[in-house]
Subunit: 403 residues, 2 copies
């Protein structure tokens, strides 16, 4: 098999850990596989570099930030290749440019346009282990670009797609994807398999195992991705296309997000174009709105509620003060202490009554639902933040997700 | 004027210092000059990276070492360009590759083969200050290379040659080149001018102001190089071709080197090929021999003395033990506490009696001379290490070098 292995910042956080990673790679090689390695910067390094830049200015030029940030991965690829060579396994470190990772030129959040991968193929042919710097690429104009936080995952997945690898192993500090947060529910179960779509929903709901763009990319090119621990043994969780097994399971996981706040505009004149006049300025201020709910109109007035990241509440309040005047709404109110609790599962498509079961489970615990939003494979409810753990535990039990 | 400015590791050792460097660059710009900037890694960074690699193995692969080490300069170019932009002066950071610094592929000590410099010219045309990573280049095979310690000086000088710059200013932590070490002679005088050749002799004699290859490169392409302090005001020392003024000055400087040891092989059979049998194995062990002196032969036996770096004494002793058996010499002795004191000056070519004056000055102080070596513009004497300061002061006075 050809396996792409990606090691995150914690896995390569010290020289000792880098040596451990080298041993893991060697043991995969000794099982008879070809290995292509992708690594992140040592943990803390990217933050250190960002704060150096911020000591100079709060708005550093992005082209130069990319040269700055891309230096972190160069250190780890070099050290890992040095370790592999010292253990008797020929290895070569490559930068994003050297393996032909060509991106657009949107600095600090570039998108991969193509990967040539010639030098990787060459190295493999020579029996050399290629060790590739994640997170970075090069623009058509030959400038260094970076792919945004978590971009090393994307490098690994995109390389796996380009090389037609059999597997893309993402080594991280968790053992895989769980039915819910094990810190809240002690019998949370590690999933052996999960569909790309479920993973996308989980990631966008705050389960920080894999960067969302990586999952999308994997789904698009059908890359088999496995998430597993760099520190513990185990088979991790495999991300694949849906299969029949998966559809039998109605709900795969319960997740929550406590980083949102709710804004309600009261007494909004109910006429065409009003939503655009509210959410246009919000979007222009780079505030990402998650859920939006509009109540039925009474006497041509309606209420509109939406959620924004808690960190953007202040900015949102300032905006709202001028927006309600502009649209002639009565007032607005903000509730910060909310949580979004969600259930996710591709089986929902073929099973009915899932939403009802969620609502009644919460009701049985005396938890009031403030907002509801649904997608094909996900139902989210906004509740009072203080009930988060209670709700997650009750739902995990109700859908029989435990061990 | 087009000025290349190079800032060393101490000058960019902290964010505060980087901002200071930005201000110096801006003030040169505001005087109406075009500026091209070359920077080293922050002081201590290269050592930090080397020791990370050495924690893994004592013989790290050199190709990977270059990827590792080249990361240091990327951080400083980015931070300096960020600082310049934040002060309102458009600047762009460039890696060695981006400005087309093509080297051979001798990793960790590559030689520059050519510089295209297109992006530098482009930037200058657009009024953008190019900030270039020193010390690094790229091989024909597209691998990252580094130029060896002090390589940033070479980057600056080579760029100045390629761009036909009017001046190459090397900012360092000393105010220029002095007639001798100011720590030993309090009235040591800063030289306003020095010839390339004198500088070469001084550098190879241990005055660590400029890397030797940079001086050679500057001499070859006639680059006007100025050495000056990044921290103090002043005009520094200008390196140029010889002129008449210089020839009037018999001696420009007195220098010393206490890092040598003397080895004497006694009773060497005086026959052809003997020197090769001694110095062949020494060279093969990468020990750099500085002075070699062979006494006149007595009864077909001769004595050979030579100096080696003090750090290589142990290795040399081991070698000598087998060499004296091999060549049938009587014995060898090692003297570690020696110093080499030298006087340098292009004026020696046209003045006689300089050597005599040196010898008698040392004799007047009661200092015994153990070895003598001379070149066209330099005379070196090996003496007992304990007389170093005394000898340097006496010579400095005798040749009237003080203020």
């Amino acid at each position: 098999m050809l396996i792409v292995q990606k090691y995150g910042g914690t896995s390569v956080g010290s020289v000792e850990r880098i040596k451990n990673v080298a041993r893991k790679i060697i043991s995969t090689r000794n099982e008879g596989h070809d290995v292509v390695v992708v690594v992140s910067a040592m943990s803390g390094e990217t933050d250190r570099l960002v704060s150096l830049a911020h000591e100079i200015t709060h708005v550093p030029v992005e082209r130069e930030m990319d040269i700055l940030l891309s230096s972190g991965e160069r250190v780890t690829v070099a050290l890992l290749a040095i370790a592999l060579n010292s253990m008797g396994y020929p290895a070569k470190a490559f930068t994003g440019r050297q393996v032909g990772i060509v991106t657009d030129s949107v600095h600090t959040k570039a998108r991969i346009e193509r990967i040539s991968g010639e030098r990787v193929q060459e190295a493999l042919k020579e029996g050399v282990i290629p060790v590739i710097a994640g997170f970075q690429g090069i623009s058509e104009g030959s400038d260094v670009t970076t792919l945004g936080r978590g971009g090393s995952d994307l490098t690994a997945v995109a390389l796996a797609a380009a090389l037609k690898a059999d597997l893309c192993d993402i080594y991280t500090d968790v053992e895989g994807v769980f039915t819910t947060d094990p810190n809240i529910v002690s019998d949370a179960k590690k999933l052996d398999k999960i569909s790309y779509e479920e993973m996308l929903e989980l990631a966008s709901l705050g389960a920080k195992v894999l960067q969302n763009r990586s999952v999308e990319y994997a789904a698009k090119y059908g890359v088999k991705v496995r998430v597993l621990s760099a520190f513990a043994e185990g088979n991790g969780t495999l991300l694949t296309g849906e299969d029949e097994d998966m559809e039998k399971v109605v709900v795969s996981g319960v997740t929550y997000d406590r980083n949102q706040s709710k804004v309600t505009i009261i007494g909004v004149p109910d006429k065409p174009g009003i939503a655009a006049r509210i959410f246009g300025p919000v979007a222009a201020s780079s505030i990402i709105v998650d859920m939006i709910i509009q109540n039925v109109s009474q006497e041509s007035l309606t209420d509109i509620s939406f959620t924004v990241p808690r960190s953007d509440v202040k900015k949102t309040i300032t905006l709202m003060e001028s927006i309600i005047k502009d649209i002639g709404a009565r007032e607005f109110e903000v509730k910060e202490d909310i949580a979004k609790v969600s259930i996710v599962g591709v089986g929902m498509r073929s099973h009915s009554g899932v939403a009802l079961k969620m609502f009644s489970t919460l009701a049985d615990e005396g938890i009031n639902i403030m907002m509801i939003s649904t997608s094909e494979i996900k139902i989210s409810c906004v509740i009072d933040a203080k009930y988060t753990e209670l709700a997650v535990r009750a739902l995990h039990r109700a859908f029989e997700l435990g061990n």
